[in-house]
Amino acid sequence: MSKLTYERIRANPKFKELVAKRTRLSWLFAAMVLGAYYGFVALVAFAPQVLHTPLTTGRTTWGVIAGFGIVLLSWVLTALYVRRANTEFDAINNEILRESL
């Protein structure tokens, strides 16, 4: 690819928009997963009794729910990210490429 094409893309306001949107979403989601996981680890290390508490009168504890919750959260965020990237972001991306080539 010629240097000129790359320069044209960089100058395209849509490129800045794409980068800003994608960067925001990816770091936000990464922070959410890391926050949930290390929050969980912190509870395990410093307040284990919270995770020992049963949900109701049964045997299932908040710890079990929290663990499954992290896995579920990871799935949901992954799916949301892929959906938005494969539709909205890719659409902007294709526009940028069309305009610049």
Binding site: M1, K3, T5, Y6, I9, R10, F15, L18, V19, R22, L25, S26, W27, F29, A30, V33, L34, Y37, Y38, F40, V41, A42, L43, V44, A45, F46, P48, Q49, L51, H52, P54, G58, R59, T60, T61, G63, V64, G67, F68, I70, V71, S74, W75, L77, T78, A79, Y81, V82, A85, N86, D90, N93, I96, L97, S100
Partner: protein, 556 residues
């Protein structure tokens, strides 16, 4: 002190058993009697994989075919293959036995193995696909000094692949001895020969499909066992948990955190090593180059995350079910003494569970799948190691990019054979060694040498060649030194009474060292070369974001 040593020893045990099944079994593996249904099913699986390899060999011609299956793998297929790389025989055995022995603590570890995947998607998957060609060294050296950075990245890849191969091979030998009653020597040679056949003749296409086949078998087997296990408890998690609490020696404590993670520093260091070590494993990174574009790369991680998460949850529930089903059955304990030593060792609960739920047939099936799993993982490792030799060192560094494609493909096949022979030899030499330290080393080097260089080259404009080399080297040295001073080498191998560094996994310390040194050296680097490299970042950034100029998929 006792509590501390448990907290340190168990992560090591899990890491080893979960990665490779190498540690606790060393030296005390008993050969089981021949399990005929296991062997029959294993032969059937091998026949299928050899069929796949033959089919793949007719389609593997060019270098791109060999390294990346021509970029023609779909997102769903690649997702299954990635999941396959991650769901080793060792995760099946190691994680379920952790839950069996420790309850909730095993669950916490399992989650630590899993959460790296969404992070890889959000931060790395697209850039990897858009910038990479065959190896991750392609990306690290994209705008930096080809000869130096590529050589460093290739050596990092080779180190990780070789260590990981040895762990897997030794673990495989012991596992097969245990499950099939085959001699260690035969087991290692069979694994070595099959992996060389897959890679040399079928390249990435065969490796990927072997991995997919095994992933499906493992998922199917796991789901069937989950169903059968739940059936014993009237399909109620509450009943299963209630019974487990009644039978487990720790009682109600198994439903919450225990003593295992009482030490948060080792827990965090372990999770960092797992998470970012995964993002620095060459055979996993290579999978991102086998799909057509960034869209497919994203889909791969979506499928992989779903499959891995599901499988890990299944494994944890099987561990919980085993507390009741295996833990109260005298047939599974040595001398029929309930609560004593499990027959075959501490990693066997899920295997005994298979026998309890489906008799010899299910046990045989699961054993055969465990064997197939090892084969698929080592094949990926050999391919990644061979690519570092043929694509990075031979074609780009030694021949300076002037090697013909035929010569490169030939080099890659020779390298695969060579690596296979070395791995088999070392696995035979290390049969009786305690390899816990190698797990720390593999993930330590991946997280502290490979990952920082790769990550900074994609994300930070300021990185220069000197910064990358200094950062990578300091991460590498710190990781190696800390592993040597740590419990696995200083205490266990060298026999000193107390480790100088108390943690098995060095990532918490070695990874920041690598980033810091890379940052400082790059900042101080005012050479002309460094200025040029920074200038090239802008174009690299456009390609990383848009995929413009990325290596396209070859049509099949």
């Amino acid at each position: 002190m006792n509590r501390l040593s448990t907290a340190l020893a168990v992560p090591a045990l899990l890491l080893t058993s979960a990665m490779a099944y190498a540690g606790p079994a060393v030296g005390e593996v008993e050969k089981q009697s021949m399990n005929l249904s296991a062997i029959a099913m294993f032969v059937a699986i091998v026949a299928v994989t050899l069929g796949i390899t033959y089919w793949a060999s007719t389609r593997t011609r060019s270098a791109a075919d060999f390294y990346t299956a021509g970029g023609g793998i779909t997102g769903a297929q690649n997702g299954l293959a990635i999941a396959g790389d991650y769901m080793s025989a060792a995760t099946l055995l190691g994680l379920s036995s952790m839950v069996y022995a420790k309850g909730f603590d095993g669950f916490v570890y399992t989650i630590g193995f899993f959460v790296g995947w969404p992070i890889i998607l959000f931060l790395m998957a697209e850039r990897l696909r858009n910038l990479g060609k065959f190896t991750f060294a392609d990306i690290a050296s994209y705008r930096l000094d080809q000869a130096k950075v590529r050589t460093f990245a290739a050596v990092g890849s080779l180190t990780v692949c070789l260590f990981y191969l040895i762990i897997q091979m030794v673990g495989a030998g012991q596992l097969i001895q245990l499950l099939f009653g085959l001699d260690y020597l035969y087991a290692v040679v069979i694994v070595g020969a099959l992996m060389m056949i897959y890679v040399t003749f079928g390249g990435m296409l065969a490796t990927t499909w072997v991995q997919i086949t095994k992933a499906c078998l493992l998922l199917g087997g796991g789901t069937l066992m989950l169903f059968l296990a739940f059936a014993q408890f009237g399909f109620s998690f509450e009943t299963m948990a209630d019974k487990a609490i009644n039978f487990h020696k720790d009682g109600v404590k198994i439903m919450g955190p225990g003593t295992l993670l009482a030490d948060p520093v080792s827990a965090v260091s372990l999770s960092l090593g797992l998470m970012f070590g995964t993002a620095g494993l060459p055979h996993i990174l290579m999978r991102f180059f086998t799909v057509a574009d960034a869209k497919a790369a994203r889909k791969s991680v979506l499928y992989a995350t779903g499959v891995i998460g599901y499988f890990f949850m299944v494994v944890c529930i099987l561990g919980l079910a085993a507390i009741t089903i295996v833990g109260t059955n005298p047939d599974f304990f040595e001398g029929g003494k309930i609560g004593g030593k499990l027959i075959g060792g501490g990693n066997m609960p899920v295997m005994h569970l298979a026998k309890a739920l489906g008799g010899d047939v299910l046990l045989g099936f699961l054993s055969a799948v465990a064997f197939a799993t090892i084969l698929a993982v080592v094949a990926g490792l050999v391919l990644a190691g061979a690519s570092a030799i043929s694509h990075d060192l031979f074609a780009n560094v030694i021949m300076k990019g002037k090697a013909s494609e035929a010569a490169e493909v030939r080099a890659s096949k020779i390298a695969s054979m060579g690596l296979g022979v070395i791995a088999v030899t070392l696995a035979i030499l290390f049969e009786k060694q305690n390899l816990v330290f190698m797990v720390g080393l593999t993930f330590g080097v991946a997280a502290s040498a490979n990952f920082p260089v790769l990550f900074l080259s994609m994300f930070w404009k300021g990185l220069s060649t000197r910064g990358a080399l200094a950062g990578g080297a300091s991460g590498l040295i710190t990781a190696v030194v800390l592993v040597i001073l740590g419990p696995a080498v200083w205490k266990t191998v060298l026999g000193n009474p107390q480790a100088l560094f108390p943690y098995d996994q060095p990532a918490l310390f070695s990874m920041p060292t690598a980033f810091l040194v890379a940052f400082i050296v790059s900042k101080l680097d005012r050479s002309v070369g460094a200025a040029n490299e920074r200038e090239k970042f802008d174009d690299q950034f456009v390609r990383a974001q848009t995929g413009l100029g990325a290596e396209g998929a070859a049509s099949h």
